[in-house]
Amino acid sequence: MKTTSTWALRAVVLFYLGVLIGLPVTFLVVKALGHGFGPFWSEVTQPNALSALKLSLEVAAIAVPINAVVGVGAALLIARHKFVGKRVLDTLFDVPIAISPIIIGIALVLAYSKIGWFGAPLTRYGIKVLFSPLGIILATMSVSLPYVLRSILPVLTEVGEDQEQAARTLGAGRFRIFWNVTLPSIRWAVLYGVTLTIARTLGEFGAVLVVSGNITGVTQTLPIYIFDSWDQRFDVLGSYSGALVLALISIGVLAILAALKRREKNLLVDFA
């Protein structure tokens, strides 16, 4: 029944979303491409911009697989085993989401930089954390930690052990069970988690800002570059252009997530 209250609610919601999300996205496109595609492209292909993009991608290439493996491993532990401190392990993964990225950055500095706890032993081995790509990688791994775990865990729990046990009675070994039975049952969830991790990794700003020291060309990831363009150099177009690139990546990510959601829905219906 489409009553007036239905339409009123729709109007309120659409207005709110329009102002909050629709408007900003539209204007970003307008601002970035307002002067034509040419200037946008030259901004995007500037050496500093490109090296920022490169660094972002490199960091992602390291952080994402590690967090994916850790996420899958931890999910298996939590879903399939009983042990002391299980709850603690589970909660630990939530910490990065609940904390400000700035604070994460500071925490890393106070643990691993020259002035930190492990500063002395690390510098002796020439491992530099502050103002270096290594620090950025650590920071990025920290903030993007939970996404894979949180995506997989509910599915792993819901699917249950029956299939794995059946495989065991049929003689399959541990690895085969994992590879042929467990992993396929959670594959869409894994993809979902990995996609979110990638988005987070590419977009991380606060923690990296603290740890990296913002050295152009060396420790600037793309988000830092965007910030720097605006804040330090008032290079507005450079900022918008970089922002549009990241926004497009995010929208791409969203589209993938939406498609995966639909797949997962179909898959789960089988288990019902």
């Binding site: 919601v13 979303l17 009983k82 609940a98 604070i103 650590l138 249950g160 804040d231 900022s239 929208i251």
Partner: protein
């Protein structure tokens, strides 16, 4: 419903999903490709490096914790642990610190509250209503989550800043901060409520209708009692997120002044290499966020169970 909890991985509230009750927890012998001992140790080691040790270092520096031994021997009863409370308090109660913490708290509270209401409205439209483009809107809700915070900052400044095309200048205003925070916390509020709303028993609402209750009455008497734990949980998440938010407000906040939030204040301390002070204020902020998050989590989980 697992699918909906997939929609957004939010902290442990996922585990209160009703589907879990039917599944038996087995401490089984069914093993992993790597030994549980070995793999588990690796994971714990990794978490220590990435999360535990840094946080410990932060708190230790923030509270100026010093551990020394006195007397002979290394046994722990010879240890002496001291807190540098004075240093901590000085950093935290500095005027800049106090005003920024206060600003963060009331801003985050307001934003979490507004989005708690809007979150329910949006979730309602997404779950109960059917219209063209509903799936699109559903995906769009995740945009603030997938979008880098700095991009959000740039974009919000573009519309609501000095060169605003609609002539709305919110640069260095609380309103500007609020818009940024509303944007960033929206997905948390919606996704906390959405799956619970979707799993509600429609028969109860139909029963209320036959007994004479109108739309609003049914909503407050029948729907909300089942829904409020998840709304509260969403509130806690949104609050924690808002308190910690940096990227999206870093530009619209302008310089130090009335619009300096706690995160920005702390960042400025690090820019000036005042690490210990930064650690102190961070620890204070952490404590507040933790209290709010744990409280809302515990309360919401307790009442969520009772209704099932």
């Amino acid at each position: 419903m697992p699918t909906d909890s997939l929609v957004r991985p939010t902290p442990s509230t996922l585990h209160s999903s009703p589907t879990q009750s039917g599944w038996r927890r087995v401490g089984s012998r069914l093993s992993l490709p790597f030994l549980m001992g070995g793999g588990g140790a690796l994971i714990v080691g990794y978490l220590s490096i990435i999360v535990l040790l840094p946080i410990a270092a932060l708190i230790s520096h923030g509270l100026s914790i010093a551990v020394s031994t006195h007397g002979s021997g290394w046994a722990f009863w010879h240890w002496h642990v001291s807190f540098g409370f004075r240093a901590f308090w000085t950093a935290v109660s500095a005027p800049g610190s106090r005003s920024s913490i206060w600003l963060s708290l009331w801003l985050s509270f307001s934003v979490a509250a507004i989005n708690a209401v809007m979150g329910v409205a949006i979730a309602w439209v997404l779950v109960r209503d059917r219209f063209f483009g509903r799936g699109f809107i559903d995906s769009v809700i995740d945009l603030p989550f997938a979008l880098p915070t700095i991009v959000a900052g740039v974009v919000l400044l573009a519309i609501y800043g000095p060169s605003s095309p609609i002539h709305v200048d919110l640069f260095e205003t609380w309103m500007g901060l609020m818009l940024a925070l509303l944007f960033v916390t929206l997905p948390f509020s919606v996704r906390a409520v959405q799956p619970v709303l979707a799993s509600l028993d429609l028969e109860s609402e139909a029963a209320a209708r036959t007994l004479g209750a109108g739309g609003l009455r049914t909503f407050f008497s029948i729907v909300m009692p089942s829904l409020w734990p998840s709304v509260l949980s969403g509130f806690g998440l949104a609050f924690a997120r808002a308190v910690g938010e940096f990227g999206s407000i870093s530009l619209i906040a302008g310089g130090i002044g009335r619009t300096t939030t706690a995160s920005y204040y702390i960042f400025n301390l690090t820019a000036g290499f005042l690490w210990v002070d930064a650690a102190a204020v961070s620890t204070a902020l952490l404590a507040i966020s933790l209290v709010v998050l744990v409280t809302t989590n515990v309360v919401s989980r307790r009442f969520q169970k009772r209704l099932l």
